[in-house]
């Protein structure tokens, strides 16, 4: 049996004691190196993740920018403002034509500043400068041609032969011009065999003539549009039966309903306006011709076609300025021009 003395026990203990601190220091070194390695790895990983975050954030930012862009920055608001001004000036033009027989030019001059102030104030709230002014020589004179049939006795669209008293159904209303705001109210018409025909014949070009055929047939009021003898689209009919029907050419409505075939009407300019089968159709109409028209008595002339001076169009200097858009142009306002 081996006797273990203090010395014998102590040696290994001493050696353990001696080696333990060394081993502990070694472990510290090992753990320290491993920690540094892990730290370096974590650092690289963090840099990579941060880079990824930046790139992804840039992508998200791009999408946000794309979605948040407004028409005002792109300039779409300038188009809206211009068309609103055109509509407002057109409405003013219609008002002075309707309510002022002779002093319509001065009435328009008086009305435009107030209108422009309204437009300017409305846009100024959004930080934009919009202005509408009259340039020199802004007015285009025209002639209002109408048949109001106020006495209801001779409201045919035909012309009456002064010697025989008979009705001439086919007639030319005006030649070599252009019209706007052409509106017809047809109160009486024959069937499809002899429809009331409104013609737009090119005065100078070789384009095909356009014809609008209106009749009150077995299926009620019907409008058919022809170009060069071929029918354009399908016939248009109001949804319900009625005694009369209104044909408004510029907005392409027939009996207040939109008519796609009528919207195709494009006779060019200038053209002749003709009526056909006017001796079998009754009603009223009014339109403003671009030029001075002669051949009709001055209004009022109940039951007959009459004419009056009117404003055909007006030029307006339009200005729009925002942080991104500078825009100036001259608008030619002719509402309802065909």
């Amino acid at each position: 049996m081996v006797a273990r003395g203090p010395a014998g026990r102590g040696r290994p203990r001493d050696s353990r004691r001696q080696s333990r601190p060394q081993g502990t220091r070694g472990q510290f070194r090992l753990q320290g190196s491993r920690g540094q390695l892990l730290l370096a790895g974590a650092f690289v990983l963090a840099v990579g993740l941060i880079s990824l975050t930046f790139v992804l954030n840039a992508s998200v930012h791009t999408n946000t920018l794309a979605e948040s862009e407004t028409g005002a920055v792109r300039g779409g608001d300038a188009v809206t403002a211009r068309e609103a001004a055109r509509g407002d000036v057109g409405a003013l033009l219609g008002t002075v034509n309707r309510e002022h027989d002779s002093d319509y030019v001065q009435a328009f001059r008086d009305g435009l500043p107030a209108l422009a102030r309204g437009i300017r104030d409305h846009r100024a709230k959004r930080g934009r400068l919009v202005n509408a002014t009259l340039p020199s020589s802004p007015f285009t004179n025209g002639t209002l041609v109408k048949q109001t049939a106020e006495n209801g006795s001779s409201d045919y669209f035909a012309k009456r032969n002064t010697s025989t008293g008979s009705l001439i159904g086919n007639r030319t209303i005006m030649e070599g011009t252009r019209v706007r705001n052409a509106t017809f109210v047809i109160t009486n018409s024959s069937g499809s065999d002899s429809p009331f025909v409104i013609g737009f014949d090119p005065a100078t070009s070789s384009r095909d003539a356009w014809e609008l055929h209106v009749y009150n047939g077995s299926r009620g009021w019907t409008l058919e549009v022809f170009n060069g003898g071929s029918r354009v689209g399908g016939p248009c009919r109001p949804p319900e039966a009625r005694d009369s029907v209104e044909l408004n050419i510029a907005p392409a409505t027939f009996g207040s309903d939109y008519c796609h075939a009528l919207s195709q009407l494009n006779p060019g300019s200038p053209y002749n306006v003709t009526f056909g089968n006017g001796n079998e159709s009754k009603g009223r109409f009014w339109m403003v011709a671009k030029d001075d028209i002669t051949g009709f008595p001055s209004c009022p002339s109940p039951g007959n076609i009459c004419q009056d001076d009117a404003l055909y169009g007006v030029d307006v200097a339009f200005e729009y300025r925002s942080s991104t858009v500078d825009y100036e142009t001259t608008l030619v306002v002719t509402p309802g021009e065909i």
């Binding site: 491993r34 390695l37 790139v55 992508s59 030619v332």
Partner: protein, 156 residues
């Protein structure tokens, strides 16, 4: 007893070496993988940004076309746009050329250093066309040139 202590020391060394190797391998893999991922995402971000900037420029050109669509030519028409000077960290340039088909124009945006590009077609109707040009990305002006009756793209 002595051999066991010696084995334990060897085991520590092997463990240390293994840890070092595994850590290095994992870290390298992560770095390489992250680098590739970052690169791909960067290219995608650049492509998307070029596409967005191009679409915004085309929309601006079309708006200028609508603003020019009046009875009289505009007396003045200038639209200024603040586009980013860089996309995903890269400079880029904008070029406008006539479309190969003969009608319309093609707007191309291309980064300078990584050859990422986006192209889109634009048609104008109220003016003669869009003038051919090549400019650096950034603040851009779309202007109506009444002499040439065309829209001009310029660097502001």
């Amino acid at each position: 007893m002595t051999r066991a202590s010696s084995d334990r020391a060897v085991s520590s060394a092997v463990t240390y070496s293994l840890i070092v190797v595994i850590t290095l391998t994992l870290t390298t893999g992560l770095v390489v993988g992250t680098d590739a991922l970052v690169g791909n995402q960067r290219d995608r971000a650049a492509t998307e940004q070029l596409d967005v900037v191009g679409q915004r420029l085309v929309a601006t050109i079309e708006t200028a076309d609508r603003l020019s669509a009046t009875e009289n030519d505009p007396d003045s028409l200038v639209i200024t746009r603040e586009f980013p000077r860089r996309v995903a960290g890269s400079q880029y340039h904008i070029s406008v050329a006539d479309a190969p088909s003969g009608s319309g124009s093609v707007v191309t945006l291309e980064t300078v250093d990584s050859e990422i590009s986006a192209s889109m077609r634009v048609d104008v109707h109220s003016v003669g066309g869009v003038g051919e040009t090549e400019i650096a990305g950034g603040r851009t002006v779309v202007r109506y040139d009444d002499t040439a009756d065309e829209l001009v793209i310029e660097h502001a």
